[in-house]
Amino acid sequence: MTAGARHLYVHLPFCAHRCGYCDFVTVVGRRAEHGSYVDALLSELELERALLAPELETVFLGGGTPTFTEPRELRRLLEALPAAVEVTVEANPETVTPELAALLRAGGVTRVSLGAQTFDPALLHVLERVAGPDDVRHAFYHLRDAGFDNISLDLIYGIPGQSASGLDADIDEALALGPEHLSCYELEAKPGTRFTHRHGEELARQAVALEGYFERVVTRLTAAGYRWYETANFCLPPEAQGGRDLRSQHNLGYWLGHDYLGVGVGAVSTVRGRRWRNTPRLPTYTAALARGDTPPREIEELSAGVLLQERVMLGLRLDEPLPLDGLAPVLDGAALTRLERLELVARGPADRGEALTLTPRGRLLGDGVTAELLV
């Protein structure tokens, strides 16, 4: 810990269009501001550099649409960022050209997370995505051609109007591309978004049918040989890939409770028991850094108890057993026994003492199980 955070998150908020379901900090267009924003990012990084370890494990460029950023500015940013073993960039299919793929590659990016979402044109339209199904495939090929051997596809299921067979078709399309990694999210209609306003009723009506989709995704992907290593994340196992660990090392950092520094508008950091969120307002963010000040932040001090709670909450999302060592103060022993009897959790030996795993059904009910387990 004293060595500093070994994970760096960089937020690039710009998008061509804000999708209705999105609740991230995004900014549409404003190409003229990309340069000043990258300046601000680099200033913030400079201000916080002391919090980072000398050697980084991961860098993650998320958005927004990082690949929508003006290529010149994106290149400048990649060149200025510290090196890391894993450097991931989120990309939207319609932005991935051979030139962009080459730019990323040259900029030290090792992994690309491609926001495919679905291959059904009608559903892409519902999601207000710019790309068509062919854009997804083409983007994937461009990345492969540029030499990327670690590509992740994002899929969204539970889209209004999506049938079970439609979901199967999406999974087939995704598997056909042979990605090293898949992230599958149920569409979350967050209150207040334009999307929920438009489709909320339809989603409520579909709710019972949608319940089975998660299980279906898990069954299909594990049958295809993927490892269900986190609630929503799947990767090819090491034995198929010459011993490579294809889990998202950056995200693994979050789930294992490691420190991380986040820079950019709305970015969140957690370092040494303190979590902060930068202002989500772009002008405020850039103006502060232009003055050489840290941007306005919302700060949350995390007590030892809260950190333990989060350790359980996040750790139980993983397929690897969670060592119980030191977690006793936040665990409800009676609930643990009850959940074991219901075959939702299993206890087993670990290096030191015992460890906890959720059974497959326990993982589908992870939030309920965690709420029971925590005192």
């Binding site: 929503a232 979050y254 969120r277 996040l314 309920g368 199980v369």
Partner: protein, 595 residues
């Protein structure tokens, strides 16, 4: 006052037929209060003598009229308090029977008139509200004459509101109601017809002296209960408290006892002198037993001590209220309370919620059952959960119901009574348009939403009253509800065998809707003994996890989790199943609606 100069009477009427307005007018016409005082004091529920710290309602007011002492004795309005009403009537020689000129005779008029006749009272029929545009005094007078016998012409026609005919009523009280009889030389005896509790003076008894006389400071004895006390003060209300040295045979007044518990001085008991006790008590005392029971639980279990304190306070002034602690696996700690009837229950519940600011969960009301076990033991059961397992025979209380409806609704009313296991007794016509139906019904069928059904099936025209006539054997079974195999005591019911299936089905369906899905399948069953008569399964959740959780989501996710945990704390635990309080409320409401 000479006995032949005293008249003791009550006013009896259906609700809103003008009883209190007539009483107020009598006080005015007799100059007992001025018009100004009237507004200031009496409309304020006669909370008198505030400055002396006494807030006892005057249960009897003395007025003077043309050289006579008239004692107007108040009676509780509703038949839940039949026994109290009959004791008040026993203190009188006559009653003014008031009927609304626009509405005619109603069920409560009938029930009260019967009570008065049973107590040998001279009835003085009066048609009130003759000033109303829709008044039909002749029709109302004909209905009264039909009900109590006599001629429509003998019925007085008045308007308590305008004051028209009030003096005629007072004259008729003097002329037609007999003077009390009593032996002033005999040992003193007085009937306690009401009592109240005052926090400074203790129990105040309202009495009608029957024989002899009582003096201030005298040592007294309540003959049935054996309670002894000193008469700290004697007096009467007119309308404020007036202390006197003695109360004599024929007179009505109050006795301040200094006793600290109303249950030690019960209505109907006889007061006598300890130094010179009467040979025997006045007839008619009985220990009133509650007939309707329900569990009262605080919605917030932390409010249990407040509920206990509130019940203690209510009990001070309500000898008929009984309660004992009850523990329910589903609802936690509360009290099983016994009431005289439905209205009494409503009053208590409302006072607890309004005066004591408590939020209550009330179980479905049930009646008292007399159970003979196979072992030959007789027990009275006040709580379905306590029904013994091996039953030879169960008896339940029956009532005689008087229902008056416009004749076009006779069909729907008979249908309702039949559905409720009623036995038709007879029907009589009070007028061509309005028959009076007499039914015998199990009280249990009436405590569950009978009144609402009656009103809805007759567009609100039916009027209904009842009195308890005794216990009868019934084909009754205990219906249990099981959630995940655990019996939920608060939802147990005693029902007639024929309606068990329907009730069980309705309960199970409702619970399936109300109980949120859990992490495992939850069977919900209705059972009679070990036989399951209805079953539904609440299917387990298939998914309960937020898909995304990255660096920026952790705090939000943790807060959602905390909210989820907090929600669970409000749940009631039945075995491993978490049941929201709302589910119990919904089911308890369902019971009230009897669907």
């Amino acid at each position: 006052m000479q006995l032949d100069r005293i008249r003791n009477f009550s006013i009896i009427a259906h609700i809103d037929h003008g009883k209190s307005t007539l009483a107020d007018r009598i006080l005015e016409v007799t100059d007992t209060v001025s018009g100004r005082e009237m507004r200031e004091q009496l409309l304020d529920s006669m909370d008198l003598e505030r400055e002396r710290g006494i807030t006892i309602k005057a249960q009897a007011v003395r007025v003077l009229w043309k050289g006579h002492q008239l004692n107007l004795i108040d009676t509780p309005g509703h038949v839940d308090f039949t026994y109290e009403v009959s004791r008040s009537l026993q203190a009188c020689e006559g009653a003014v029977l008031v009927v609304d000129a626009a509405q005619g005779v109603e069920a409560q008029t009938v029930a009260n008139a019967y009570l008065a006749i049973e107590n040998d009272l001279e009835l003085l029929p009066v048609v009130n509200k003759i000033d109303l545009p829709q008044a039909d005094p002749d029709a109302a007078a004909t209905e009264i004459a039909e009900l109590i016998g006599g001629e429509p012409d003998d019925v007085l026609r008045i308007s308590a509101k305008t004051g028209q005919g009030i003096e005629d009523v007072l004259d008729a009280v003097v002329e037609r109601i007999p003077a009390p009889s009593g032996d002033r030389a005999a040992s003193a005896r007085a009937l306690i017809f009401d009592s109240s509790y005052d926090q400074y003076r203790g129990v105040v008894a309202f009495v009608r002296v029957v024989d002899g006389s009582f003096g201030t400071g005298e040592e007294l004895l309540a003959m049935a209960q054996g309670t002894r006390f000193e008469a700290e003060e004697l007096g009467f209300f007119s309308p404020t408290m007036r202390a006197v040295e003695t109360l004599e045979a024929g007179e009505v007044g109050y006795v301040i006892t200094g006793l600290k518990d109303v249950s030690r001085l019960r209505v109907g008991d006889t007061l006598t002198s300890r130094a010179n006790p009467a040979a025997g008590p006045l007839p008619g005392y009985k220990d009133v037993k509650p007939m309707v029971f329900a569990g009262l639980f605080p919605t917030d279990s932390d409010e249990y001590p407040e509920l206990r304190d509130a019940l203690e306070k209510l009990k001070l002034n309500d000898a008929a209220l009984v309660y004992e602690p009850e523990t329910s696996n589903a609802l936690g700690f509360g009290f099983r309370c016994g009431f005289l009837g439905l209205l009494h229950m409503e009053i208590v519940r409302e006072r607890l919620e309004r005066e004591f600011d408590l939020d209550l969960l009330v179980t479905a009301p049930n009646v008292a059952y007399r159970v003979l076990t196979l072992a030959g033991e007789e027990v009275e059961v006040h709580n379905p959960a306590e029904m013994p397992p091996d039953i030879e025979r169960v008896e339940e209380p029956y009532i005689r119901a008087s229902i008056i409806v416009p004749k076009e609704y006779v069909g729907p009313v008979m249908e309702l009574c039949t559905e409720r296991r009623g036995r038709f007794d007879h029907m009589e016509y009070l007028s061509e348009e309005r028959p009076l139906l007499i039914y015998e019904l199990p009280l249990a069928e009436v405590v569950v939403d009978f009144y609402d059904q009656l009103k809805s099936r007759t567009r609100g025209y039916a009027s209904f009253d009842y009195d308890v006539i005794g216990f009868r054997e019934g084909s009754l079974v205990k219906l249990d509800v099981l959630i995940a195999g655990e019996s939920v005591d608060a939802l147990s019911l005693i029902v007639h065998r024929d309606s068990a299936y329907g009730r069980g089905r309705a309960l199970v369906d409702r619970l399936r809707e109300e109980i949120p899905r859990q992490m495992f399948d939850v069977p919900v069953q209705a059972a009679i003994g070990s036989r399951i008569i209805a079953r539904e399964t609440i299917k387990a959740k298939r998914k309960d996890v937020l898909a995304k959780c990255y660096g920026g989501d952790i705090t939000r996710k943790r807060k959602l989790l905390e909210r989820q945990k907090k929600g669970k704390k409000r749940m009631k635990q039945v075995g491993a199943v978490e049941v929201p309080q709302e589910a119990f409320l919904a089911v308890l409401n369902l019971n009230e609606n009897g669907k």
